[in-house]
């Protein structure tokens, strides 16, 4: 048998590897190891690189190395954060490169880089202040170094594109020429630095190209799933298909003679792994391995039993979180006109293109992992916890993610698993990869919920009372039980809050009651790109459409009347209405729907244009999406995120559903868990309306208006509201 190619290259030094991987770009002639030796590479660089502060290092050739703490998973945060630092640094954007900080490095530096978690659309908005100050502080030090060299006051210097000019004498110095001296200066008080007015930005605020595109075009980019390490073995994994069930037994003798197989490894009491020299051989052996599960009592659960449990929550007297003003039930009871409806949304899997995987190497007293993760520090903690090796002897190497969508943040189950498997193979890197089927079967799904809404209209068609009851699963119950205080859990009401700033409801209703009844099934749930606002926007915005129609008013006008005290919500709604020419007649057969909502710190709205054929076939022709994220660090990447949010939101609207049968998830690959393809992608127009007075998120906020705007357009087309998703299960005509 031929040994895998990587083994022939063990003799390559790390320097050789770097040269080898450069050659790889030229057509696959070299096959070096593709290990991102983050720390070593940084040290090799270090000799010629002057660290000005934790965010900025400058090489003699003026290359500006900007350090990035957050994870990049496609959302563009790496480029945006670099723009913010570069803006204050006043460097040449063409000379910017980035370097990822590892969690051990952050820990050893007493978290000098702050929080590393990347979720909730927070990557930029919660670090913008300190990264800009870091850039500004570095600029001040570089200018001071030049002033010292020329023996002139720093106030006489100007800087642009990394070139410092002393105007009176017309002398210039480049950043690379003063970086060494600057690195030795005492840093200024960052908190006292006055940052630029964002309206004067030259690098930030511009639709610059991403910094991380080149190696995504020729196969060079190494995702964690692509790792090759010396002596590495691969693991395929199967967990009990029923959540809460256990591994009873397996018969390793049946696979012992299969090619490449090393051994089967029990993972705690819930799963089994097969380890082999290649992943394909491991998977083939795993598929052949006789496994007996003790499925336990949850095997009796199904979509139907879970739906019954949720239905119970719709009418329960006890609730787990609420907001109210006035007396909604009384106002509705006394109203001359009432509207009532029950909506539902299903469990959804994340289905990132790169499935869960993690590589772990455990040696005497040391643990190292390579993880696609949205939270490097959580991965580090998981590695330490499962290996029993102290935190300061652990390291997690950074790799960009092949999609995250909330799956790879707080829940580090896959890191724990890979570490358990690696325990059976000391000094050997174990690359654990889940099959697509395993990834679909063992997710932390978007919470399932139902919602009952009732409204009362007065004789003039004004909304006088609104009652909203959400019954569904709680993310906090799994991920953060401490956040549930006295049985109250407001997280599931995201988008319905009274408090401004993050996920505020944009309507004022004189009598309003919004309640959450927690109903948890055995299925684990978690964050899912735009979670909770996605479901809650469907309930609120589709019901608003029903109420507007009952009132006899135009959908847009009806909303506007309720939004007078919410100028930011209204501003985005008006922006999309204007761009979509709301009210202007459309070609025959095309119908519009509108929706607005707020989440993840930003305001969103959408207008959808659809047609429904006489056979009931839906086509989404055009969508206008509006967003106010306060500041717009990179309008080009905002546009890309909003376009992507339409694909993500439409996939959920059209196809997204993870059914439960016999206690297990049943849509295990893309043949029955369908993802929308290019042919169904409508033309998306993005209207960015920043008001420059707050910092909101971008990765998630606009998803929530996709489904309701489309459903409201379908209502306009068919005259019938759609109250459950996905549409593949709904007969439209």
């Amino acid at each position: 048998m031929n040994k895998p190619v990587l083994e022939k290259h063990l003799e390559l030094s790390r320097r050789d590897f770097i040269v080898g991987s450069a050659a790889l770009a030229g057509g696959g002639l070299a096959l070096g190891m593709n290990v991102p030796f983050g720390t070593d590479a940084a040290q090799a660089e270090g000799a010629a690189t002057n660290e000005i502060n934790v965010w900025v290092a400058i090489k003699p050739d003026d290359t500006c190395v900007i350090r990035i703490a957050r994870s990049e998973m496609g959302q563009g945060t790496l480029t945006g954060l670099a723009q913010l630092v570069a803006e204050e640094l006043e460097c040449d954007w063409n000379k910017v490169t980035t370097e990822g900080v590892t969690p051990q490095r952050n820990l050893a530096a007493k978290r000098a880089w702050g929080e590393m978690g990347t979720g909730g659309s927070r990557g930029i908005r919660t670090s913008q202040d300190y990264v800009r100050r870091g850039g500004a502080a570095a600029r001040i030090m570089l200018l001071q170094a030049a002033a010292d060299q020329w023996n002139v006051p720093a106030g006489e210097l100007t800087v642009a594109n990394g070139v410092i000019t002393h105007t009176p004498s017309k002398r210039t110095l480049r950043y690379g020429e003063v970086a060494a001296a600057a690195s030795k200066l005492t840093p200024p008080d960052e908190k006292a630095i006055k940052l630029k007015d964002p309206k004067e930005w030259k690098i930030a605020g511009k639709p610059l190209k991403r910094l991380d595109t080149a190696d995504k075009l020729d196969g060079r980019k190494i995702f964690a799933i692509d790792l090759k390490l010396p002596d590495m073995l691969c693991a395929a994994v199967k967990n009990c298909p029923v959540f809460g069930g256990k591994l009873a037994s397996y018969d390793e003798s049946k696979i012992a003679a299969m090619p490449g197989v090393k051994k089967a490894v029990r993972i705690k009491d819930t799963g089994v792994a097969v380890v082999a020299d290649t992943w394909w051989r491991a998977k083939k052996a795993l598929d052949a391995l006789p496994v007996v599960w003790d499925e336990g009592p949850n095997a009796s659960q199904s979509s139907a039993t879970i739906a019954e449990m949720l239905k119970d929550g719709l009418n329960a007297t006890e609730t787990n979180g609420e907001r109210m003003n006035g007396d909604a039930l009384k106002a509705i009871a006394e109203a001359p006109k009432k509207v009532e409806a029950v909506y539902s949304t299903p469990f959804l899997a994340h289905a990132p293109m790169e499935m869960m995987n993690c590589t772990v190497k455990l040696s005497a007293g040391r643990a190292e992992a390579w993880v696609p993760t949205q939270n490097l520090e959580a991965s580090l903690a998981a590695l330490s916890e499962s290996s029993g090796i102290p935190l300061d002897k652990c390291e997690v190497n950074r790799l960009d993610l092949g999609g995250g969508f909330g799956r790879r943040g707080g829940t580090q189950d896959y890191v724990h698993q890979a570490t358990e498997i690696a325990k059976a193979f000391p000094d050997t890197p174990i690359k654990m990869i889940w099959s697509r089927e395993e990834d679909q079967a063992h997710d932390f799904y978007r919470p399932i919920s139902q919602c009952k809404l009732s409204a009362g209209l007065d004789a003039a068609g004004n909304l006088v009372g609104l009652h909203v009851r959400v019954s569904g699963q709680s993310i906090n119950a799994i991920a953060n039980p401490n956040a549930i205080v006295n049985g109250k859990d407001m997280r599931q009401l995201q988008g319905y809050y009274d408090t401004p700033g993050d996920a505020q409801l944009g309507y004022d209703v004189p009598n309003l009651s919004i309640e959450y009844a927690m109903r948890n099934s055995h299925v684990p749930v978690g964050p899912w790109r735009g979670v909770n606002t996605n479901q809650n926007a469907v309930y609120m915005e589709c019901f608003m459409e029903e109420v507007a129609r009952a009132s006899g008013k135009d959908s847009l006008e009806f909303r506007r009347e309720l939004m007078k005290n919410h100028p930011k919500h209204l501003g985005v709604l008006n922006a999309v209405a204007e761009r979509a020419e709301w009210g202007k007649p459309l070609p025959a057969g095309i119908h519009r729907g509108i929706a607005q909502f707020m989440g993840y710190g930003s305001y969103s709205a959408a207008v959808a244009e659809v047609s429904v054929s006489p056979e009931g076939k839906l086509k989404v022709h055009r969508m206008v999406l509006g967003v106010n994220s306060g500041h717009a660090v990179n309008p080009g990447q905002i546009e890309a995120q909003v376009q992507g949010s339409v694909a993500f939101g439409l996939t959920a609207t059209l196809y997204g559903e993870m059914p439960v049968d016999k206690g297990r998830m049943t849509a295990l690959n893309f043949d029955n868990y369908e993802i929308m393809r290019l042919a169904e992608m409508p033309k998306v127009e993005v209207v960015i309306v920043p008001t420059y007075d707050f910092w909101g998120g971008i990765g998630e906020p606009t998803i929530c208006v996709v489904a309701p705007s489309v459903l409201n357009a379908i209502y306009a087309a068919t005259g019938k509201p759609v109250r459950s998703l996905p549409l593949k299960n709904v007969k439209l005509v």
């Binding site: 031929n2 696959g28 595109t213 980019k221 290649t278 992507g644 893309f670 993802i675 290019l678």
Partner: protein, 156 residues
């Protein structure tokens, strides 16, 4: 020992006859630009050019491949990302996470080789790979851009 012509080089690999080409490329040849996404020919992340046609390599067992079959992976599509599709992808800033983009680029290159000026409908029919980040709108734009540049003499 099977002989495979990949990116213009004949390589000897020793793997079971039922090993999918995808895993031969990734684990025996060591080229990892071709990605595993589903294993059932749904997503297209594993797309390669097989005798000039775009194929999902997860569905081609090693035993069915002859030494005369010409296989091109993303690493062999061009030198220095010079294929018009790669250039257009860069100009339009298509990739987000990038995981599916090798397959998308291989599908687009194959489309343009057959149909140098595809209509939107042609693109709808040919570009069936899944992108979970949702880069579809920019993919369409980039395919049109590459078509306008021309693809003569490029690609596998």
């Amino acid at each position: 020992m099977a002989k495979l012509n990949i990116n213009g080089t004949v390589r000897e690999v020793s793997a079971e006859a039922d090993t999918p080409l995808l895993w031969v490329i990734r684990e025996h040849v060591g080229l990892t630009g071709t990605k595993y996404g589903c294993g059932i020919a749904q997503c297209g992340a594993c797309s390669v050019h097989f005798n000039g046609e775009v194929q999902r390599s997860c569905q081609i067992p090693l035993g069915d491949i002859k030494e005369t079959d010409v296989i091109v992976t993303i690493e062999g599509l061009s030198v220095g990302s010079s294929h018009p599709v790669q250039k257009a992808w860069a100009a339009v800033d298509v990739p987000q996470c990038g995981y599916c983009q090798s397959g998308q680029i291989m599908a687009a290159a194959a489309l343009l080789k057959k149909n140098p000026k595809p209509t939107d409908k042609d693109i709808d029919e040919a570009m069936t790979n899944i992108c979970r980040c949702g880069t579809y709108q920019r993919i369409r734009e980039a395919v049109h851009m590459a078509a306008n540049v021309g693809t003569t003499g490029q690609g596998g």
